[in-house]
Subunit: 429 residues, 2 copies
């Protein structure tokens, strides 16, 4: 039978790049993975979770509720706590009618599920989504699966380049494709993969630019702000989200998560959506899974209400800051001068730029050399959309400091430095 019978969506859905990297990691136990986006194992709130769950389940009323179905949008109190927390972070108010109205919030199975559902809600095959260049590679996989074309907008250290955004939209208007543009996707805090945080004024201005093109597009162009790493800030003050921008209530979709800051085995994220989209997304959520596990939701709710969450977060920030420090020390010691990188201010990643002539892709000499030295990184090209309007850069790498121990971080970077020296010497010679 020549015809597979698979759907177009299934046919478009490629093997994810991470599967290969993961399989590689599992098959070589001596490999140091600076590739995996794992979080720190030693700081996971094991005993705190045990206590919270015990308290919850020993109460007949709370315990039964936690083990029963919840509602599709999620536990009302968890939604209220989340909205209030977010309003505080933004210096906003969690009242009805504001972007922080709990009625516009719903709980998801990690923030990943929100990205999936927003793509489903808004995009048909052939539609266009604007992304940062580079961006979160799993989002690119979702987009590809839905037949969505991604267009990369230049990324500066303080967020996307606004003239480039304007130029891109203008070009799409001229080519008659503006009506296919559905949203702009920003990973706005300690971005995956570059670590960049978008300045507040940039978000507000990006939203203004999007609105400027709406009339020509014939429909709303949304701003999807993915704040997955927001709470993993090492120091300095928080940046308000785009929910604080003028016109946000009707156009901003905000995605957050409790998985990374608390425990990745507890898949609880959330989305705040314009009223109209909220309604549609809930219908999809109902079809997907009725609602996220109530037990996990009650756990997160207790963690928030009891202060355990905040206490753990403070510990975690210090821990990641120390790991980032260890990594940077190693980078200074072992990486050649020609490699450019920035000290991270939060998140889980460092982005390293090599001289343009040095390739980093899985087929490259560098990647193969690194494998021989038993160290793995994420090749930068995986983080770039397949945008035919520019060549996909292939001389960068993402280095994670979340999962490995500080000792392994130092050893991994030493091995990577050795691989780099070998290649640089060869290229010069």
């Amino acid at each position: 039978m020549g015809n597979s019978g698979l759907s177009q969506l299934a046919t478009r859905t490629g093997e994810p790049a991470v599967s290969w990297l993961m399989a590689m990691t599992l098959s070589r136990p001596s490999l140091i993975s600076l590739a995996a986006g794992f979080t720190d194992s030693t700081t996971l709130p094991r005993l705190e979770t045990e206590r919270l769950l015990s308290d919850l389940l020993r109460s007949p009323k709370k315990g039964r509720a936690a083990l029963q179905y919840g509602t599709t949008p999620g536990d009302p109190e968890l939604r209220r706590l989340t909205a209030r927390r977010l309003a505080r972070m933004d210096n906003g108010e969690s009242a009805s009618g504001t972007p922080y109205d709990p009625g516009r919030l719903f709980i998801t199975s990690g923030s990943q599920q929100l990205l999936y559902m927003i793509s489903e809600c808004l995009c048909d095959p052939g539609d266009i989504v604007l992304v940062e260049d580079p961006t979160y590679f799993v989002f690119l996989a979702i987009a590809q699966s839905h037949g969505v074309r991604c267009r990369g907008v230049r990324l500066n250290p303080d967020g996307i380049d606004l003239p480039a955004l304007d130029h891109m939209l203008d070009r799409l208007r001229k080519s008659g494709e503006l009506h296919r543009v559905k949203f702009l996707y920003l990973v706005s805090y300690h971005q995956n993969p570059t670590g960049a945080t978008t300045a507040w004024a940039k978000k507000a201005e990006a939203l203004r630019i999007l609105r400027h093109y709406e009339r020509a597009a014939g429909h709303p162009i949304y701003l999807l702000e993915d704040a997955a790493y927001r709470e993993l800030r090492f120091h300095g003050s928080d940046v308000p989200s785009s929910l604080q921008a003028s016109g946000a209530a009707g156009r901003v979709i905000y995605g957050g998560t409790y998985s990374k800051p608390f425990a990745t085995g507890v898949r609880v994220g959330f989305g705040i959506l314009p009223q109209r989209l909220h309604q549609v997304a809930l219908r999809l959520k109902g079809n997907h899974d009725f609602g996220t596990s109530n037990l996990l939701q009650q756990l997160v709710r207790s963690a928030l209400a009891s202060g355990v969450y905040q206490h753990h977060l403070d510990l975690l920030r210090a821990r990641y800051a120390a790991k980032a420090n260890a990594l940077c020390r190693a980078l200074r010691a072992h990486f050649p001068e020609a490699v450019v990188w920035r000290e991270p201010t939060g998140g889980l990643y460092v982005w390293a730029r090599l001289p343009h002539r040095i390739r980093t892709g899985t087929g490259s000499k560098l990647f193969q050399g690194a494998l021989r030295h038993e160290v793995l990184y994420v090749p930068g090209n995986l983080c770039y959309a397949k945008d035919p309007t520019r060549r996909r850069p292939d001389h960068e790498m993402r280095i994670s400091f979340g999962g490995e121990s500080t000792r392994n971080l130092a050893e991994g970077v030493a091995r990577l430095g050795l691989s780099l020296e070998e290649i640089l010497t060869q290229v010069v010679a």
Copy 2:
């Protein structure tokens, strides 16, 4: 802006019927809901779960693993235990190459997520899925959302009518639509909504019929067996699944769940898929959510390995059998002779057939009368596909005995009986 900017999928996705019923239940606290598919609250394994989670989280090794990301297909040991358990239930063998190979299994967020992903994997808008007439209404909602046309195959007390299945496929072949048929969906144990269990020989023969039409279709036609209620059997012996049928390895998709038999707040289901589909479904699972919460998976794994699961299941079966008994006693006492129903052998539902002239839909006099008497049921027409080749029956109702107390079951049925008497008197008069 006239154009909504929503995707076609979003535009097709209707307000789910259950939302309305749920909102109704929540807004009227004195209402007895014989509509909701809730499970029994008093038997939820609250203290058992507390102990299992405490043991898990107090162990540094197990606890950390449970709070960290898992892999996309799910915990290997949970998959092995699940495959072995299923093989035993089917009198099969859980070896490599058999349909019970754990390598063909993956863990989902409830069995609902499997139904969603299989629809995504196989169906484009305009494709056809054959369903039982009536069938599980949330599956119909998923199908509608994906633009899938459902065709209803007559359902007998021992499963679908095989000549009707053959006739349907033959008709589709003649109309040139056979290439659009992607799978047959069977809720094979204590079906939602009718309670019917499909005889083993029927599953094997249904698979044979599907294969007969494959050459003309030009691609595989799968059998999706949804066994969500399999473990909720009150008495008698289990029926093997279609995984035991000849040719099953390449054509049967089997969906099961631990949510209903253990705790609905713990959303853990699984799917067993032909190798090729398994690969594709895992890519989708990665895009949806990376994998189901590891903490929930480890909980279910512990419940299975410790025997807590089986012990709880035995209790639960006895409890539901008692509730079903209470319901049937009430039905005998309060329902008019003209209403036909069967004593359930498992599951959570009784299906009642009224004289054809009595409508049961939400707009009907009966439904409105029942509301006045503060009792809710699921109108039968919600469980029928919108199949233009036959009129949608509108004289049946689904009555749930899972959620309400035995006292409320009796009172609810008494109220419903009163509403029925009123209508029957009116119609005769």
